[in-house]
Assembly symmetry: C2
Homo-oligomer: 418 residues x 2
C-alpha cells in the first residue's frame, strides 16, 4: 500500500473510533484508562526492551545526551506514565456538560452542550511519554487520537501503543480510538494534514521547525505553541523584595521551560535601588546577563545586548535586562518583542495592575506572581495538553475542556418559524 492510502485507512479507522468513543460512558473510558495504566506496569520490561533499540540507534546516530535522556524509559518513568493515566481517570468528564440553557419567547429551549471534537492528530518529537499522555486526555474527552511520533522513538511508541490499544479493547473501547501511524516518513505527516473532514484537529508538539511545517501545510485547524518570550515588569511602585523573588523565580527555578522569563523590564525610577542586589543574586545563580549601556554600568559582567536578543527564547540561564521609563513603554516592549505567552507586572499600584491586566494581550497576564505558574496543573486544570499561543479555540494552558467543542441543542414542542 502506498503512504497516501495507508494514512487514509488509518484515519478512517480513527474516525470510526471517534464515533464509538463519543458514545462511551465516563465509566467505560475510566476503566480503559485504568487498564492501560495497569498494562504499562505489567509490561514495563517489554517496554524497556523496545526502548533499548531506540536508544541504541540514537547513540549510533550520535544524538545529543539531552535527546537520549528524553528518549529513555526507565522503570520509574513508566510508573510515572501509568500514574498520569490514573490521574486523568479521576478528572471529571467534560463531554455532555450543558454550559448554558435559555428559553426563547416561543417557548423553545436553546442551550450549548459540550461534545468531543472527533479525531485529533498529535504530531510529536522524541518523548515517548507523550504517547500515553495524549492518548489519555483525548480519550477521556471522548475523542479518537492519531499518534505520529518522531522516528527516534518508533520502537518505544509502537510498544506503548500496542499496550494501550489492547487495554482499551479489553475495556470495550473501539481500537480505532487509539490509532498509530507507524510510518516514519515525512510524507505520512503531509498526507495526514490534507485529511480535512476526517481529522478535525492537529496538535504538533515539538520544536519550532516541526510546528511551522505543520502550520504551513495543514488544511486542518492546528493548535500550536510557538515560543515563550516571557517578561516581568518591575514597576516603580513594586514591593522590591517581592519583585526580586518573583524575577529570580521566573528566571532560575527552571530556565529550560517556555514560561521562564527571558527579559526583565525595570522602571527607570527604581533601577538604582533595585538592580544592584538583583544582579548580584542572578550572578550568584550563574545567570548570564545582557543589557544596554545603562544596564552595563551597574555591573561589568553584564554583556552588550543586540536588538535581536529581545526576540530570543533562551530556555537557558541567560537574561536580558532593559530599563524603561514606565508602564507604557514596558507594555510597548511586550507588544513588540514578546511572544504573547506569559507576562507579569510587579506593582502595589491598583490602577497600573488593572491596566496591565487589561491591555497586555498575552495568553497569561499576571500581577505579582511568577511567570512559571503558567501551566495547566498550577492553574488547577488537572491536566495539560501543552500551552497554546494561538488565539483561536484555546489560548494558554490546555486542559480537557480544550479537547472538546460545543454544539447547540434545541428542545422544542412543535415550534415552526414564521
Amino acid at each position: 500500500m502506498d503512504i497516501k492510502a495507508y494514512v487514509l485507512k488509518k484515519a478512517l479507522e480513527a474516525k470510526e473510533g471517534a464515533r464509538a468513543a463519543a458514545k462511551a460512558s465516563s465509566e467505560e473510558k475510566n476503566r480503559a484508562l485504568l487498564k492501560m495504566a495497569g498494562s504499562l506496569l505489567t509490561k514495563s520490561r517489554e517496554l524497556q526492551a523496545a526502548n533499548k533499540k531506540d536508544i541504541a540507534s540514537a547513540k549510533k546516530k550520535g544524538l545529543s545526551k539531552a535527546m537520549i535522556d528524553r528518549l529513555t524509559l526507565t522503570g520509574k518513568r513508566i510508573e510515572e506514565m501509568a500514574q498520569g493515566l490514573v490521574e486523568v481517570s479521576k478528572l471529571p468528564d467534560p463531554s455532555g456538560e450543558i454550559l448554558k440553557m435559555w428559553r426563547r419567547p416561543n417557548g423553545m429551549m436553546v442551550g450549548r452542550m459540550r461534545v468531543p471534537i472527533g479525531v485529533i492528530a498529535i504530531i510529536y518529537e522524541s518523548r515517548p511519554n507523550v504517547t500515553a499522555d495524549a492518548t489519555a486526555l483525548c480519550l477521556k474527552a471522548g475523542n479518537a487520537v492519531i499518534l505520529r511520533g518522531g522516528s527516534e522513538a518508533v520502537h518505544s511508541n509502537t510498544a506503548i501503543v500496542k499496550i494501550l490499544r489492547n487495554a482499551a479493547a479489553s475495556a470495550g473501547i473501539h481500537p480505532g480510538a487509539v490509532t498509530f501511524i507507524e510510518s516514519t516518513e515525512r510524507q505520512a505527516v503531509m498526507e495526514m494534514l490534507k485529511l480535512e473532514g476526517i481529522v478535525d484537529l492537529v496538535i504538533p508538539r515539538g520544536g519550532e521547525g516541526l510546528i511551522r511545517a505543520v502550520t504551513e501545510n495543514s488544511r486542518i485547524p492546528v493548535l500550536k505553541h510557538y515560543k515563550g518570550v516571557c517578561h516581568v515588569f518591575v514597576d516603580r511602585d513594586a514591593d522590591l523584595r517581592m519583585a526580586e523573588e518573583i524575577c529570580f523565580n521566573a528566571k532560575v527555578q527552571r530556565p529550560g521551560t517556555c514560561n521562564a522569563m527571558e527579559t526583565m523590564l525595570v522602571d527607570g525610577k527604581i533601577a538604582v535601588k533595585f538592580l544592584p542586589s538583583m544582579i548580584k543574586k542572578f550572578k550568584k545563580a550563574g545567570v548570564k546577563l545582557k543589557g544596554g549601556a545603562d544596564v552595563m554600568k551597574f555591573d561589568k559582567s553584564v554583556s552588550a545586548l543586540k536588538e535581536g536578543d529581545y526576540y530570543t527564547e533562551y530556555v537557558d540561564k541567560i537574561l536580558n535586562i532593559r530599563i524603561v521609563p514606565g508602564i507604557d513603554s514596558a507594555m510597548d516592549h511586550i507588544a513588540k518583542y514578546g511572544s504573547a505567552h506569559t507576562d507579569s507586572i510587579v506593582t502595589e499600584d491598583y490602577n497600573k495592575a488593572m491596566r496591565f491586566l487589561k491591555e497586555v494581550d498575552s495568553s497569561s497576564v499576571m500581577v505579582n506572581a511568577s511567570t512559571r505558574f503558567s501551566d495547566g496543573y498550577q492553574y488547577g486544570l488537572g491536566a495539560e495538553m501543552g500551552i497554546s499561543t494561538d488565539k483561536i479555540h484555546a489560548r494558554g494552558p490546555m486542559g480537557l475542556e480544550e479537547l472538546t467543542c460545543t454544539k447547540f441543542i434545541v428542545l422544542g414542542s412543535g415550534q415552526v418559524r414564521t
Copy 2:
C-alpha cells in the same frame, strides 16, 4: 507598490487598529457604530450612485438577475444596513468579561477574561451589506477588520468603507480598525492568507469554491461554513400532525437557506400513515420530491433518487424522502450523508429524544422544532456572523462571543513556584 507590499501595509495598519480598538471603551465603540449608521443614512444618495456603477458593469458582464438583485443597494436596504449598526450598538460588549475565577491553594486567583481576537479578515462575495454588518460586529467585540469584497461590488464597498472609516475616526476610533483591500486581484487574497502573526482569523463568506480556496491556502485559522444538508427524522412515536408542520416549515418557509431541510427521514412503521398527506402538502407547495421505489409507490410524482442526491444541498424546493427502519439507521444516514449543520427529530419518546440529542454530531441538534431556527437571531444571540460548520473555536451560529477569545489572568500577592 506591488500587491504583496500593499497587502502587508494594509494588514499592519489593521494590527495597529486592533490594538487601539481593544483599548476602546464600550461607549466609544457604540458612539462609533451610531455615527456610522447616521452617515450611511446621510450619504444614501452617494452610496446609491456608487452602487449604480457596479450594477451597470454587472449587467454588461451578463450576471444573473439574482446576483444583480443581491448587489443592489436601494434606499430601503441602506436604511436596513444602518438599522443593523444601531442594533449592534445595543448589544452587551463581550470583551473584558470574566468568565470564571478561582482560588488556588497558594492563594493566587486564576481566571479567564474574554478579550478581542485582534485582526479578523473577512473575504466575501457580492453582497455589499456584509461590509457594514461585519465591520459592526468585529468592532463591537474590540477587533480590527480587514475587508475584501468581491470585484462586482468594488464601487459600493469602497463607498461604504469610506463612510464607515470617517465616522469611526470622528468618534475617536483608529482608522486601521476598518481596513479595506481595494485590489480585486486574486493574489491580494493569497498574500493575506500568508500573514500569520498579523492577521489572527479569516472568515470567508460566499460559495463553496471561495471557501475551499481560502481553506487550502491559509496559514491563518479559518472559520467557515461549507453547506447545510439538514435532516428531519420523523420517528414512529412522533405526533404526526406536529411532524407534518415541522417538516413543511423546514423545507418550504425559505428553501434558499442553509438551514432548510434537504432530506426527510421517515420511520418505516408510520410511513403509510404519515406520507400520503405530507406528500400532498409538499406537492401543493410546488416541492419536487425524490425517493426510492418504496417512496415512489406513494405518489407517481415522486422521481427516482440517486445516492448522490443525499449529499446535495439543493437550496431550492426539492426534497429527498427516505424511509428508514428506525432511529439507528436515521442517525447512520445523518452521519454518512449530512453536513453536520442542523438535524432535528420529531418524537414523543423521551429516550429517543435524548439519544438523538446526544449522539447526532451536528452544530445544531433539535427535538420537535424546525431546522429553520438554526440562526443567531432565532437563538437569541442578538447578532450573527454566519454559521460555522467547523468544530474548532465556534460551531453553529456565531454571535459576538465567537469574535473573542479568552486569556488567563492571575492575581497574585508575591507567589513563586517551588
